[in-house]
Symmetry: D3
Subunit: 246 residues, 6 copies
């Protein structure tokens, strides 16, 4: 890594301060208020016994997610999607990404006929809202699964969680690959990539987009290196948060 310093003083391969307030909500079976710097996302996991009708009778569970931003989570107020009467493409895209990411670490057979809905609501946005959401949702999910076990909806010997999962953004700015972009960096990035990685270091999603100029194989490789490093740190934070009593 070079000795470039970023606007907030970080080195290119450094995450922003990450905190996960586990059990923030008194209502949900699992919850976490996650912060990646000034980005703050409230993640709740709702556990329901049973599955949607079209899935019933197969002995398998279901995990899904919904993402949304509060209207004034951003610098300029956005109109509410409920007021507009439809959900935008970006919201759909991120909701689907979060759902796939969490399903990748759940054994649906072991979950049994139970449903988990992860709600990720961005209270404050400063870049990386989808990666913070995935990282926090995993903690909420873990607690909701534990709740399900305690309430005997999940078998005592079943292990529905087969790995942990976190996500981080990487991008190339002025030719330098950087980890965990804040909003001011995100808008300047030539290439922007979101990478979802399991605790064991395997890829769940790799989504790279050339915002400015197309990128070559070497640049792609260096971004993937950075992302794997960041994901390892995030997995460590998740582990220690879940190790504490809630």
């Amino acid at each position: 890594m070079t000795d470039i310093t970023r606007a907030d003083g970080r080195t290119p391969d450094q995450l922003r301060p990450v905190t996960i307030e586990r059990g923030w909500s008194k209502q949900a079976e699992g919850s976490a208020l996650v912060s990646f710097g000034n980005t703050r996302v409230l993640c709740t996991a709702s556990f329901t016994n049973g599955v949607p009708r079209w899935m019933a009778g197969k002995g398998k569970g279901w995990v899904t997610a919904e993402y949304a931003m509060l209207p004034r989570s951003t610098n300029d107020r956005m109109d509410r999607e409920s007021v507009k009467g439809k959900i935008g493409g970006r919201t759909h895209e991120i909701s689907r990404l979060i759902g796939r990411s969490l399903r990748a670490v759940v054994d649906m057979k072991a979950l049994g006929e139970n449903t988990l809905v992860l709600d990720c609501d961005v209270l404050q946005a400063d870049g990386g809202t989808r990666t913070a959401a995935i990282t926090g949702a995993y903690v909420a999910l873990a607690d909701a699964l534990e709740w399900g076990r305690e309430h005997r909806f999940i078998g005592q010997r079943a292990t529905p969680l087969i790995d942990s999962v976190s996500a981080v953004s990487v991008g190339i700015i002025d030719g330098t690959p950087m980890l965990d972009l804040a909003y001011v960096e995100d808008v300047r990035a030539e290439t922007d990539m979101n990478v979802v990685v399991t605790g064991r270091g395997l890829f769940v999603e790799v989504q790279g987009t050339a915002e400015g100029a197309p990128f070559d194989r070497r640049e792609l490789d260096s971004l993937l290196d950075l992302a794997l490093g960041g994901a390892e740190t995030l997995a460590g934070i998740q582990t220690s948060v879940l190790a504490e009593g809630c």
Copy 2:
């Protein structure tokens, strides 16, 4: 008042613990995270120079509000209104109530051609979300108006805020009038009333509904007494929160 004790140990004329975290959001011109017991509402005030086209050229400003609940703010998860593609009657009703309540204490001429949007998002619900929203939104509004003055969108001698405003619920449970109902009380109330009161003790809104049996004039009077008392306490809290440096 009788010596009846409530589920959470309060006397009939006692508010739940009320806190107002001023300036919670880094993005909005004014903001407050308000709690009435376990009810928590994030209120942001967005200040925009200019007014909607149909109001332009009259030298007057505009104040409006939008209320919403996070899907898992409640004990059972609710579907998102953005997903359903339409806003329910209750949401509309409360958004309109909050907007009217705040407009009652703003001098639109003194505000000048500026727009304020109050967003009140319920993060956790335990009864009284609309009254907490109004009470918190006033604090966010006051700070956003100050921001407008500092940025010279509002004249230095103008005093757009002509009074403070707060709101509280009252209800009759087993024949006893009670202040600031928590959710378990709300569902049992025979009569439920939301009262919006200015800092000077004048009524802005009185909305009483017989949920169980119709109520008589005497009961109505005792509810109004309780509400005026609660509103006085809330006005005091607002004043001291706004007296601190933000």
Copy 3:
């Protein structure tokens, strides 16, 4: 009361001419075309044996209401809500108010598993459409319940109607409290209140709003006095209309 005379020659405590044309519709189980002066609302009551699925098996009935305005019921044509693809907040609010008002005088156990839908369509609007709607809907409801009894969907000894209900608006104009505001009065009112009262003189709803300046306790009291007087007259009209053969 003072000797103030209103635009249409009424005294402050006088209702407009009120007529209720019972059985206006040949299709509905109960119906009434109600007029409060130039305000004309067609109220129909649709009786269905059975209840929505989520209520079935509890031995209880359901009463609900929908309110709407014809596009040219007003002085300026309004766009249809069906064309806009969504129902506005005001429409939702009034539909809910009508529903609650009528449910307050129905014993759901005595109704049994039957559903009543009250449709209140404003043919011509001149202030007080929601209060006329409630007053007319009660008559339609009474006839539909009678229809249900004749067709043996309601037990012969059951008395689902436990009281009558009507509604009236009151407001303060130039400092004078006035009863049953016409449109030109409504837009000038400093305070506007809709009061729903049973035949026995008990309150079902009290909805007061400071349109101009907040109001004090004494003003509130005088408005409530006026409303109770108006409601008594309306109850008398309902009684005599229902006493005639249909």
Copy 4:
């Protein structure tokens, strides 16, 4: 014609009793409550000076129509299209038919840059709602054009109305062609046709549909004969209604 007698005692070539209550609405520039037997439609014509932006500057006017049914205009209550959030195909189709029918008798140049919206709301339905709507809307239109002339939005020498227009349904029931079908007849008709005819006896619209079995040229001819006869009667009623002072 044969000596067949219909359920309501009419001969096959007889219209139901037709009445047109001109000026029913105090708000609209023109209005008519039209009845074809038990079918009752409230038609209002809203006159606005100016045209939609995409038509401006061409010196031509615009005439459009919207049709809707009250939810309990029919024997079974229908859901409101505003509640469903979308307009059904039948409603669209009839609104478009009414608009085209009235535009056929208006000289848009003579109308000048003015807009007329015809609202046809079915208060009670018993077959033939679209034909009653067209017949009544013409009367409302004529009065609204007169209003436009009086208010000098239309030139004093301009004659925007070039003919009158009415409509009637015809159908074949048990092999017999019949005029102006009531609902019980409509559902039994093998072939159903709506014919829109000007006062001079020219066709504006011919819409024939084989509901049961396809029809041959001879049957088509006899239906057209019947329709022209009925339209002549309707034109006479329109003329005499418009001849009276309003």
Copy 5:
């Protein structure tokens, strides 16, 4: 017929070149890419065993249709109805027309409890898209019924298809009745008529509209003559296409 020559060299009573590519789609049970000159419509027929719940248990089938235009099937790009979030009146109207036209030649009892959905998507539009759609949809329908018989969802002796059906437009241009209008002709037509005719020469639908001036009985007669001639030619093309092996 006169010796008038049309823009594309046709005589007034001549169809454009008509081709029907049977079995265009590998996915659908029946399909046809139909061309009337430059108008090209892809028609697919989807066969499903079973009927919608509200029809079940009556031993009858159901046939329905949906029509749509690709956004750039026309000379100027149109917005997608899916993006606008609602279906326009014209689309609804044509979908309903296609459905009725095909149902007129199907014996629902012989079809049994099976459902056929005809999708008619306009790939390129040059006038007469609805008539091309009906003509092509019949071929797709015939093949899908054959598929149903082969798969034993339809009895081997049942003959659900009781006739063939096709459609053609006719119109009056500069006083001359013409067959099968291309777009440039359609916009100039004073009167425009779509006629749906069975293989035996019976009418299913007659929809004539005066776009410019109302039309008289003689004009109507000459248009019907032209249409019957065109429909005979189309029926012949359908027969020979279906006679070939698919």
Copy 6:
């Protein structure tokens, strides 16, 4: 590569037969009917002089895309999104992907204030519809830009097209990386990746998803190798199609 043979006889690194019918539509400024095996997508490019209002005055153009599937392009008929009244997440996601992919090879300054809309409608689907859409849309875009130059909306010396772009899917099936998955392969793939590559071999988008098990770095590398090979072949086909006279 191994000697594994696929269901359709291809080797793992072999594309399906790819054809591009350039100029399929007579209406659009550019168009292509592209086939990847049985997947067929009609791509049209609509050129409009001018840009949306929010972009005007910056001397830059805009390129956007919309993707949709015909209801019976798939094996089971899907409901139309226009009928459902909303666009699904997958549709949004793919439309956005196509738009970004084409913008990556357009110099917006050189394009000038012109707008291009690419419509990609799937006529028949057998896997890889989004990659076929991007590959075909590029050809339509190139022709529409040429049209813009000929009509002098684009400067004669401007070169808005800075590279070509195509896309291909890759996936791992039973442990073997494979190129250009057909539908039966797609549903079995453990990992599925769509790669968008410019003619010069640079990445525009890399979207890899673990459908079954997460994937490691080595697997990711082999998928990227395969994709770059496939993209090179596609770029060659695009070049030769565009070299022919249209």
